[in-house]
């Protein structure tokens, strides 16, 4: 039971990190990033490759050497940086060429390409086997609860940054871009620059999500980072209320905790895949209903008070 709760909280917290990425991209700036799984995977693989002790594995006649054994915190910071940097590159291609309307398709393709690389470049990622023996800090102390507390701390930190971003002048420009990009451009703001800032900042949170998840499970495989992950994170944000930083937490707790994890306690019906697929149908229908009848989600966007400047 404790193990289950620890797993559920780890899922909720790390998915909430990724949720903040989607919130900054979509909720603040209106960029539809469907490559959530890609940034998650980048973070997870970066820290896994850096922090895993150097090991040699022989599999199917080939020997792979993976791992540099650097400290965990270096790996986590590197994960955020790598995700940010790749987001800049993707953003320059996807946001420069078009007005962002292809971004959804291109980020979806980006996540798939990351997955192909993880599957095929076995010299780096050990291919479909995935990377095991990733260091798991505090995994043996009190059944992993200290690590959950660290995750909670990071969540509050990310919440704080997102909240600052929302109320700052930068956040105001981003919301302006979402509402009417031409109007903001006509005020002399460089839209591409602000979109890239939003894209790279958010992606850092996505990278953190992947990194902390990798250090929680200790083993990652390419198929962990499929569109299902993207769907769950995006759903959480939509359910909670896009653009609302507290809504992200509430939405993730609802979707991941209640709809994704809790069905494990249901009695077994039908085939082994009945309940897992039924819960996705339920989440999907919930999203359709929310978009139809309560667009703002569980917690509507708060208005930002703009302080009058004394002249």
């Amino acid at each position: 039971m404790i193990t289950f709760l620890v797993l559920t909280f780890a899922l909720i917290f790390t998915y909430a990190f990724a949720g903040y990425m989607f919130n900054i991209h979509y909720g603040f700036t209106g960029l539809i990033n469907l490559g959530i799984a890609g940034f998650f995977a980048l973070g997870a693989y970066t820290t896994a490759i850096l922090t895993t002790p150097r090991t040699e594995t022989t599999f199917a006649g080939e020997t792979y050497q993976v791992g540099f054994g650097v400290p965990v915190w270096v790996g986590i910071i590197a994960a955020a940086l790598v995700a940010s940097l790749v987001a800049l590159i993707v953003g320059i291609i996807a946001l420069r060429s078009v007005t962002g309307e292809h971004l959804a398709i291109m980020t979806l393709g980006f996540a798939e390409i990351i997955r192909f690389i993880a599957i095929n470049e076995s010299w780096l990622t050990r291919g479909p086997m995935g990377i095991m023996d990733i260091p798991r800090p505090f995994s043996n102390v009190w059944q992993g609860i200290p690590y959950i507390l660290i995750l909670l701390g990071v969540l509050l930190f990310i919440y704080f940054i997102s909240e600052r971003l929302r109320t700052s002048p930068l956040g105001r420009v981003l919301r302006g871009i979402r509402a009417d990009d031409l109007a903001v451009e006509s005020l002399g703001k460089n839209i591409l620059y602000f979109r890239l800032v939003s894209f790279a900042t958010g992606a850092a949170f996505g990278g953190l999500a992947g990194a902390f998840w990798a250090h929680f499970t200790g083993a990652i495989q390419p198929q962990d980072f499929s569109t299902t992950l993207t769907f769950l994170v995006a759903s959480s944000v939509i359910v909670g209320g896009e653009g609302n930083n507290r809504g992200v937490m509430l939405g993730t707790a609802t979707v991941i905790g209640l709809l994704y994890q809790a069905p494990r306690f249901l009695p077994k019906i039908g085939n082994p895949w009945t309940i897992p697929s039924a819960r996705f149908i339920v989440i999907g229908i919930l999203i359709v209903l929310i978009l139809r009848f309560r667009r703002e989600g569980l917690m509507p966007k708060q208005l930002v008070r703009i302080e009058q400047e004394e002249s």
């Binding site: 959804a104 398709i105 759903s235 895949w273 697929s277 149908i281």
Partner: protein
């Protein structure tokens, strides 16, 4: 050896072309990108499986029946879901179609389970057509694809329904004023587009196995084909389909078989950088 890759590129190109035409017409009439398209393709393949393997009908007859049945799914989607979202933001529609994709995919998983199934038809030996290699089912698939293109052109150019769809796609309000019932025309448009999805799905199912996850990769390839061919131009999308099919198989021919799908995405990204509206944009 290169002939083998080119023939396979033509076959997959024929399949992507049908899908891209449906996707492109849907974008033009509804104005949004339908991300559940790949999963409606899978639905078509499973319906064909029911007709073909479970009820014992001929495989080509089941393809046609499945295409019509999937078309009705399209009508249902329009009536139940999309009518309520008239005038919604592009972002909302994208998220909505992702949610629909997961509903459809998991519904198929719920019914048929995760194991791949196969359509039943007599496999025959390949033969040479000049430097290329084909077997009869593959030739029939390419012929069906070409036939669909021609039929699509005739429907869109000469029939009331086709003209109505183009009119509503260009300007729904103007069409309404001129006495074209938006509701009726959109119902037809959804039937045709999702019917094309079902057809391309069954073609894909004939070339390999049918499983609930197969639609997703094809979704991105169909989008690549559509964007490559030119936004809002179904004929360009058809050409884009063949380009994507051939390009990805030629990537395999130079020894990068693992990356042939990634190569198609990259081609799309490069084309978007150079020609943001695709190769043959609509006027």
């Amino acid at each position: 050896m290169i002939g083998y890759y080119i023939s396979f590129g033509l076959i997959s190109g024929a399949i992507y072309a049908v899908a891209a035409v449906g996707l492109s017409l849907l974008l033009r009439t509804t104005g949004f990108r339908f991300l559940a398209f790949g999963d409606t393709m899978t639905a078509g393949a499973f319906i064909a499986y029911v007709f073909n393997a479970q009820m014992g009908l001929n495989v080509y007859l089941s393809m046609g029946l499945a295409a019509v049945a999937t078309g009705f799914i399209g009508i249902l989607l329009y009536w139940i879901v999309f009518k309520g979202f008239k005038g919604a933001r592009m972002a909302t529609m994208l998220i909505l179609t992702v949610a629909l994709a997961f509903i459809i995919r998991n519904f198929l998983l719920l019914i048929w389970g995760p194991y791949p199934v196969r359509l039943k038809y007599a496999t025959v030996a390949s033969f040479n057509v000049g430097p290329l290699f084909f077997n009869w089912p593959q030739i029939i698939i390419i012929l069906i694809s070409l036939f669909v293109m021609i039929a699509f052109y005739i429907i869109m150019t000469f029939t009331r329904v086709g003209k109505g769809i183009r009119a509503v796609g260009d300007d729904p309000d103007l069409a309404q004023i001129r006495g074209i019932s938006n509701w009726k025309v959109m119902t037809w448009a959804w039937f045709i587009c999702i019917g094309l999805a079902g057809l391309s799905g069954t073609m894909l199912g004939m070339m390999g196995a049918v499983n609930p996850a197969m639609g997703f990769q094809i979704l991105l390839l169909a989008f690549s084909a559509m964007i490559l061919g030119g936004i809002g131009n179904p004929y360009g999308a058809a050409i884009g389909g063949f380009i994507i099919g051939l390009f990805s198989e030629l990537t395999a021919a130079v020894g990068l078989a693992e990356y042939k799908i990634a190569a198609a995405y990259l081609l799309m990204a490069i084309v978007l950088l150079v020609r943001p509206k695709g190769l043959f944009p609509a006027k």
